[in-house]
């Protein structure tokens, strides 16, 4: 429980830093990406590209697996959406309906 919260906090800080650094906290930058007929701003593409490049099937994940990080600190179960997680938790009774 403690570990789960600590990991979530660190992940949250990284996420917030990433949003700030990439300027995706600025609504005009996001709108600029969607405005293909105006002054098009491709930054969001780089943000998504950068994020996807280290994600699950990327080199970072492979490296974490290689050094045994996943085994030592790894999740005992994986949920791929909030709906899936909440459904499961409701079924096993750890969450009231």
């Amino acid at each position: 429980m403690m570990k789960q919260n600590l990991v979530a906090m660190i992940a949250g800080i990284l996420f917030g830093l990433g949003l700030g650094l990439s300027q995706m906290v600025d609504r005009d930058r996001v709108l600029g990406f969607l405005d293909v007929a105006g002054a098009w701003d491709p930054t969001l593409l780089f943000v998504l590209g950068g994020a996807v490049s280290v994600k699950v099937k990327g080199p970072v994940f492979d490296r974490l697996q290689h050094i045994g990080f996943i085994e030592k600190l790894g999740a005992d179960r994986v949920f791929l959406s909030t709906h899936q997680a909440m459904r499961h938790l409701t079924e096993e009774g750890s969450m009231p309906k």
């Binding site: 570990k3 789960q4 919260n5 600590l6 990991v7 979530a8 906090m9 660190i10 992940a11 949250g12 990284l14 996420f15 917030g16 830093l17 990433g18 949003l19 700030g20 650094l21 990439s22 300027q23 995706m24 906290v25 600025d26 609504r27 005009d28 600029g32 405005d35 293909v36 007929a37 105006g38 701003d41 930054t43 593409l45 943000v47 998504l48 590209g49 950068g50 994020a51 996807v52 490049s53 994600k55 699950v56 099937k57 990327g58 970072v60 994940f61 974490l64 600190l73 790894g74 999740a75 994986v78 949920f79 791929l80 959406s81 909030t82 709906h83 997680a85 909440m86 938790l89 969450m95």
Partner: protein
Amino acid sequence: MPGNWFNGLLGGILIGLSATLLLAANGRIAGISGILNGAISFVKAEVWRWYFLVGMLLGGALYEFVLAAQPTPRSSFAPWAMMIGGFLVGFGTNMGNGCTSGHGVCGLGRLSVRSFVAVCTFLITGIVTVFVIRHGFRLGSAT
């Protein structure tokens, strides 16, 4: 502004690291709308969601007040437009099982077809909406 794409890439890498960490260590998807959705069900076993959200605010503040070269510009939108927009985002992300971060970062990262379809759908819808509002109705700040 030059260097924008580089900051975008760097920020994206941090977001990717965050999502990888959360999935590898906790087995959860770093989709912000989903995390918030689960957080407001106030279940004790799911209290990590609040830690993530608070961490995200801390990370954003750390950038804005410590690292940022200049303050992030704040554009004002009409409150009614924000409320309609927020409602549609909440409704749509719940219906579509994820948002930009859930589908765009986590889903595309694990090569999910459902996420690919979702990303194409919301990007196209977003582009069409912005086009109609900015260039059709000439509303908003068309730069």
